[in-house]
């Protein structure tokens, strides 16, 4: 009976947690956003999301085969990357472009660094950045959500912008900054950005769906409150500063919060533990940086949306933040 004993270092028991269960939680958290995407963009979402997942998984499998490493599909991280990439793509993006984005995400964004845990940049954002620089026109063509196609005028009765550009609310706000349009029309879109009945990337339009998913992750303690909170607070604060300085020129801070990819970023992209700092203090610096850069790009910069670049920029300084935010032991620094 007492044969075949195992010897190992303590502890000998562990919490029933695995990388896979963490990733499954993230996938569950993304379900409301995916559901909203399917509701608003119908078959566009039904094509893009599976395309990204499958091509991300296939790329990871292939990379492992080439690297002669153990198959790592079981940790489900490729699925998460695929979903997040899909949710941050324009609905009408051709399938081939989505495949290229997924392949780049996994192969260059993750696997060349050594796979999960070793990547510097958020893989999904790396893939999206690649698509943006390669296919700029495709990546900025927005579709009006399906329920709205016929009824756009209901939401913004005097909305002349819709007819002209079919752009995202953020693009409209850009027009306002450039003096081509009125702020009022933009701020009227606030309600629509909360429910998601606006143009934009697949998964980022519905603030409510993202909040539900984010709340689930917070309750499950899959993510920490620090990063989402820091991103939201800093984005609102910096947008508020601009708004107060010139209300007729800049959109409300709440509008910045609910439109574009800010909430998707706050709950699902910036919180990617691999590419975010470890300590609470570091997370706050990281989150504030993401919020600030996003608002700066949106308001001062040339692009209407800045979430992607702000995350990538802050990812790059994460090792530095970690170095600055080293913890000191509870008992103080050792005297020796």
């Amino acid at each position: 009976m007492l044969r075949d004993l195992r010897v190992s270092c303590s502890p000998h028991i562990s919490e029933h947690l695995s990388t896979r269960s963490v990733m499954i939680d993230v996938i569950i958290g993304l379900i409301p956003a995916m559901a909203a995407a399917v509701y608003y963009f119908r078959n566009c979402a039904l094509i893009l999301i599976p395309t990204c997942i499958i091509s991300a998984m296939a790329t990871e499998w292939l990379c492992n085969v080439i690297r002669k490493k153990e198959n790592s599909l079981g940790d489900y991280s490729a699925i998460v990357t695929g979903i997040i990439l899909a949710l941050s793509l324009p609905p009408r993006l051709p399938v081939w472009a989505a495949v290229i984005g997924s392949v780049f995400s996994i192969a260059i964004g993750k696997m060349v660094f050594g796979g999960l845990g070793a990547n510097i940049f958020n893989p999904a954002m790396a893939g999206r950045a690649f698509l943006t620089v390669s296919f700029g026109a495709l990546m900025t063509t927005w579709t009006v959500p399906a329920p709205l196609d016929a009824a756009m005028s209901k939401i913004a009765p005097e909305n002349t912008i819709h007819a002209r550009t079919q752009a995202t609310p953020l693009a409209w706000s850009k027009e306002v900054i450039k003096g081509k349009s009125e702020t009022k029309a933009v701020n009227e879109q606030l309600k629509a950005t909360i429910t998601g009945e606006v143009g934009g990337c697949l998964g980022e339009t519905s603030a409510i769906a993202l909040l539900i998913g984010g709340l689930y992750l917070l309750i499950r303690r899959t993510i920490n409150i620090h990063i989402p909170f820091a991103v939201i607070v800093s984005a609102v604060a910096f947008a508020g500063i601009f708004y107060l300085s010139a209300p007729e020129k800049y959109a409300q801070p709440m509008f910045h919060l609910t439109s574009g990819g800010l909430l998707l970023c706050a709950f699902f992209i910036a919180t990617d533990p691999v590419t975010a700092p470890l300590t609470a203090k570091g997370m706050w610096i990281f989150g504030i940086g993401v919020g600030l850069i996003t608002i700066l790009i949106r308001i001062v910069g040339e692009y209407p949306e800045g979430v992607m670049y702000s995350v990538l920029l802050m990812n790059a300084v994460t090792p530095l933040i970690d170095r600055f935010c080293k913890w000191i032991p509870a008992g103080g620094k050792p005297s020796v």
Binding site: L5, R6, E15, S18, G115, N224, W327, I328, S335
Partner: protein, 459 residues
């Protein structure tokens, strides 16, 4: 008086492993097996290893000193039985690998089991009949060491030191390790003996304040101890404090943080902030040594785990082999995967079951594959996803993943820059790691490697 059994005192970090105390918490302390042979380790404590005082084939009496050392930090060892020295040789040791031990063969006809001393103590025990020196000397002679696990010689702890005056005596009855219940049973059954020991330790150390701390998952122990303190003589300044049930609440650094909201300096010891921490079993041993003049030759061991047929608490001679103890408890019922000396969080898995128990062994835990969990059993580790859970649970406010990966990549200077030496090896980080990385294991490896390097370096 209403006794508050809800513990709100706590420290930051820590985990909540399943307690599993129900296996043995209702089993009274029973006499252990009538041993045929014991192996008394010459190193059962921190500090200098004892040298044997006896020779092969010599007859020894129960309670006879058989090993001692002249070093200040050390404790003598005694024979628990009447018998003949069979050999003095190497024996498997949980921490040291192999170490010298004195093997004594029992005389079967001349070995009555040791009687418990608990009923010799009443609530009107007066410690003032003994002087502080008398107490310290008796503690030293009896070879008492910290019985909670570390095994630091108790005399060194309680003896007054003019450079580090002691003010607060903390009696540790937390028993935060899952499965183990030996301290809990002692608190219930040997209450007056413990209190006598507390009074003696207080007298010897000159502490003005005494706190008995018990985790709030043992409300019965809190009630029993509080009631006994109320009744006993000279017990006015002894306080019973319920602390929150959380692992590692029983670690002395964490306990001091919980009770006094003070941090023991990194690399330092509690006396630096005027605190002495003693385990309840240790204080019971002090009472036995001073009043009954009996050395530390027996202790209560919890034999537990789902695979054990008759789990329970047993009063056994120090030196009994693990194998004999498990057999005495009916052997194992299902396929067991690990035999652990101690609890599942900090205990040491052993392969050689002839290993004897020593003064610091509070439990033998036999785990099955199910309890260990599939991933842990297969030792499958995946990449760190930097989720930060190990940082959240670290009671010492360290960055375990950083240290572990520095050690893994053989960057010991980096590990030191993350304060590897401050780790208490509680195991919380490995416990919560979703990637199943042996974080604590890497840190332990790093500490050992560093210690070895230091020894080789010329001064």
């Amino acid at each position: 008086m209403e006794i508050d059994t809800k513990g709100r005192l706590t420290f930051s970090g820590g985990t909540h492993p399943p307690e599993k105390k129900e296996l043995t918490c209702d089993s009274e302390i029973k006499k252990g097996p009538a041993v045929k042979q014991v192996a008394v380790m010459l190193s059962q404590h921190l500090g200098a290893v004892c040298r044997p005082l006896v020779e092969k084939n010599e007859q020894v009496q129960a309670g006879q000193k058989i090993g001692d050392s002249d070093a200040f930090v050390s404790a003598p060892v005694h024979s628990p039985i009447n018998g003949k020295i069979k050999a003095i040789g190497l024996q498997t040791h949980a921490v040291l690998g192999r170490s010298q031990a004195i093997i004594i063969e029992a005389e079967p006809e001349n070995n009555p089991p040791k009687q418990l001393n608990a009923d010799k103590f009443t609530d009107d025990f007066d410690e003032n009949q003994y002087s502080a020196e008398q107490i310290c000397d008796a503690v030293q002679e009896a070879g008492i060491v910290g019985m909670g696990g570390a095994g630091f010689p108790t005399r060194v702890k309680i003896e007054p030191n003019p450079r580090l005056p002691k003010e607060i005596l903390i009696i540790n009855g937390c028993e935060c390790e899952p499965y183990i219940t030996c301290d809990y049973r002692i608190m219930l059954e040997w209450t007056n003996q413990i209190i006598a020991g507390i009074k003696l330790a207080r007298k010897a150390s000159g502490c003005s304040k005494t706190i008995i701390s018990i985790e709030d998952n043992k409300p019965k122990a809190i009630e029993v101890m509080s009631a006994a303190i109320q009744k006993c003589k000279n017990g006015n300044d002894i306080k019973v404090a319920a602390v929150k049930t959380k692992y590692p609440q029983g670690g002395e650094r964490q306990l001091i943080k919980s009770l006094l909201n003070k941090n023991v300096p990194t690399g330092g010891i509690p006396p630096m902030i005027g605190v002495v921490v003693l385990n309840v079993a240790t204080s019971a041993a002090i009472a036995e040594a001073v009043v009954c003049k009996q050395p530390l030759t027996h202790r209560v061991v919890t034999v537990t785990g789902e695979a054990i047929a008759k789990p329970g608490n047993y009063y056994v001679p120090i030196g009994t082999s693990v194998e004999e103890l498990i057999e005495f408890c009916g052997g194992v019922t299902e396929k067991s995967a690990k035999v652990i000396v101690g609890g599942p969080m900090m205990g040491i898995a052993i392969a050689d079951l002839t290993m004897p128990i020593n003064k610091t062994t509070g439990a033998i835990t036999v785990l099955t594959r199910k309890q260990i969990g599939r991933a842990k059993y297969k030792k499958r580790q995946t990449a760190c996803i930097r989720c930060g859970r190990c940082l959240e649970v670290c009671p010492e406010h360290l960055m375990p993943t950083k240290i572990a990966h520095a050690v893994k990549n053989n960057l010991l200077d980096v590990a030191q820059s993350y304060y590897i030496s401050a780790c208490t090896e509680c195991g919380c980080c490995s416990y919560v790691c979703p990637a199943n990385i042996e974080v604590t294991g890497y840190i332990k490896t790093g500490k050992i490697t560093l210690a070895r390097q230091k020894k080789k370096m010329p001064k």
